[in-house]
């Protein structure tokens, strides 16, 4: 494990998850690092959030799984992954050799799935657990489409996960709700050490020539620059409702985008779709933030958090 420099202006503690810098790669957009290792230096990253892991191997949704929209991307991958055992035995050792913090993202169709995943991961050396209760591409045993659409189911799952692990638990929230503040509060009350927001917005596109949907799964999740304004508003709304750290996600492509999230109240950011456009995006943002703080004489990134002038 890389030693964290205490003089580092970018160093931050996210509910017990200590990071050398507040820039992570978002779940589902960075694989398990080996795919990207040939292109960028992974050890520079604050953390890598893995593709969501399910208990059993999951085949994913039928193709086509991607469709590009105006400054955005629709995806309906459906959490294709090889399951918990494969993750622990073959993916994790490799991940740990990447020289950065590893946050395991978990997903399930019922509370028991999350419990089992958290219990198993607690025994491993992942640095934290991100609970994906907001994936629009899998079906849940829940009255709402997503667990994160209801404060009660959100709190049930987070509480169960917390009981299984001492590792920092991050609740990943959905923008497909009426009041994000309410859900963030529910997660906080249930014991979440941080919330990350946002997951993708439910969306679809249509091929009018064939009269068919563009995605095999009909609907998918929208990400990329197109969703940044939505994500910023939600981070800002949640910032006034919870005390736990917020990790901002959604359309962050540049240092400027990241700064906007910090100003709105994020303590860290995750980079998703930008990795596809430019694998060096996260590294560039880390460098950009360092420069920004230095040029303004700021000693720590914390001085920026929530400083939006309204």
């Amino acid at each position: 494990m890389k030693k964290i420099n205490t003089n580092n202006a970018l160093e931050i503690d996210i509910g017990g998850l200590k990071l050398a810098n507040p820039v992570m790669t978002a779940s589902g957009t960075f694989g398990y690092t080996q795919e990207c290792r040939e292109l960028i230096s992974v050890s520079e990253l604050g953390a890598v959030i893995t593709k969501s892991i399910t208990l059993q191997p999951s085949p994913g949704n039928r193709p086509p799984r991607l469709w590009e929209t105006t400054a955005g991307l629709l995806n309906a991958i459906g959490i294709q992954n090889e399951g918990l055992d494969d993750f622990v035995h073959s993916k994790l050792p490799l991940l740990k050799s990447a020289g950065t913090r590893i946050v395991a993202s978990i997903a399930g169709v019922c509370r028991q799935d999350y419990e089992a995943l958290a219990k198993a991961l607690d025994a491993t050396d992942v640095d934290a657990i991100e609970v994906n209760i907001s994936c629009p591409n899998i079906e849940h045993k829940s009255p709402t489409t997503l667990f994160a659409q209801d404060p009660y189911t959100t709190s049930c799952i987070i509480r169960s996960v917390k009981k299984q692990t001492d590792k920092p638990v991050i609740a990943k929230l959905s923008p497909n709700v009426t009041d994000i503040g309410l859900i963030a509060r529910a997660a906080e009350k249930a014991g979440a050490d941080a919330v990350s927001m946002i997951n993708t917005l439910i969306g679809m596109d249509v091929d009018i020539a064939r009269g068919k949907p563009r995605l095999g799964n009909i609907t998918g999740g929208l990400s990329g620059p197109a969703i940044k304004p939505v994500a910023l508003a939600m981070v800002w709304q949640a910032y006034h409702r919870v005390k736990i750290p917020i990790i901002g996600i959604g359309g962050i492509m540049s240092t400027e985008d990241a700064i906007a999230f910090f100003l709105c109240g994020a303590s860290a950011v995750q980079i998703g779709t930008a990795n596809f456009v430019d694998p060096a995006a996260a590294s560039n943002i880390i460098r950009g933030l360092r420069l920004y703080l230095k040029n303004r004489g700021m000693k720590n990134i914390r001085e920026l958090i929530g400083q939006l002038k309204v």
Binding site: E35, L39, Q80, P279
Partner: protein, 283 residues
């Protein structure tokens, strides 16, 4: 870091047929890196419209020079932007990506079948095959009309026998490339005895009983690849096809480019784009 994300200088970008462009790029350190069937992931413009990179096959590669040629058809926003980029400007590229074509030992008779822009990677393959001794290369090019037939000269210069088929009959035979493939395979069967004399040209070769010596390669739309798979099935000829799916990352990280195989969903950008046709599950 084996793969490159780098700036590639455009040396040539010219229209060689209506809507078809040939682009030559100079990529520092690229010599000897790419194999036929691999692709580059290209950022067409600098902004977010279009947002994603575009996958384009390596069309001609040199083992000694840092130059790679691409052949592309203007399809939508991305390729249109590419077509407007002028000589001397730089493109952001990642590559070479994916697994290329394999040439199993013992093969000496090659049949390449291309539908539309499927010719693009097959020229690189033919270039490579031409370096083998005692080979025979037959290329079937299928296109919509005469104006979309490209690369005939390139294949001929390599020493391949070229058969052109167009859907409207405006050049070569009228019909589909796959119908021509069926005819050729039948032809091979009749002449099987002559193989023992040593294969020299395509008409001396049998496919049926000597399948291991034949390398069949296909690149084109999904429908065409499905039909090739059906045609070759009774002959047990191992056939490699290059597939297309919409891509996000291009490096295997997002699982966006899934294709259904006997082993489950695999990634066109990582396990592919070249797959054994027998491994694909056709829906």
């Amino acid at each position: 870091m084996q793969k490159l994300q780098t700036k590639a200088e455009i040396l040539i970008n010219k229209e060689i047929a209506p809507g078809h462009f040939k682009m030559a790029l100079c990529i520092e350190g690229f010599a000897g890196k790419a194999r036929p069937g691999q692709f580059l992931h290209i950022r067409a413009g600098a902004g977010y419209e279009p947002l994603l990179r575009r996958p384009i096959s390596v069309h001609r590669i040199s083992d000694r020079q840092d130059i790679v040629e691409l052949l592309y058809k203007v399809n939508g926003k991305g390729t249109q932007l590419m077509s407007r980029r002028s000589k001397g400007t730089f493109l952001d590229v990642i590559g070479p990506l994916g697994n290329g074509f394999k040439v199993p030992k013992g093969q000496s008779n090659f049949v390449l079948i291309a539908g539309g822009m499927g010719v693009a990677p097959l020229v690189a393959l033919a270039d490579r095959l031409a370096t083998y001794r005692k080979k025979a290369i037959t290329v079937i090019i299928g296109a919509k009309d005469a104006a979309s037939v490209v690369c005939v000269k390139e294949f001929q210069e390599i020493g391949a026998k070229v058969i052109v088929v167009t859907e409207d009959g405006s050049r070569g035979d009228r019909g589909l490339a796959t119908a021509m493939l069926e005819k050729i395979i039948g032809d091979f069967d009749i002449r099987k005895a002559s193989l023992r004399a040593g294969p020299r040209s395509v008409s001396d070769v049998t496919i049926g009983d000597y399948a291991p010596e034949v390398g069949l390669y296909a690149c084109g739309p999904m429908g065409m690849l499905a039909s090739v798979a059906k045609i070759v099935k009774p002959y047990k000829i191992k056939t490699q096809g290059s597939f297309e799916e919409r891509m996000g990352c291009g490096v295997g990280a997002c699982f966006g480019c899934a294709i259904k195989t006997q082993r489950g969903y695999e990634r066109v950008c990582k396990e592919g784009p070249v797959f054994d046709l027998a491994d694909i599950v056709w829906d």
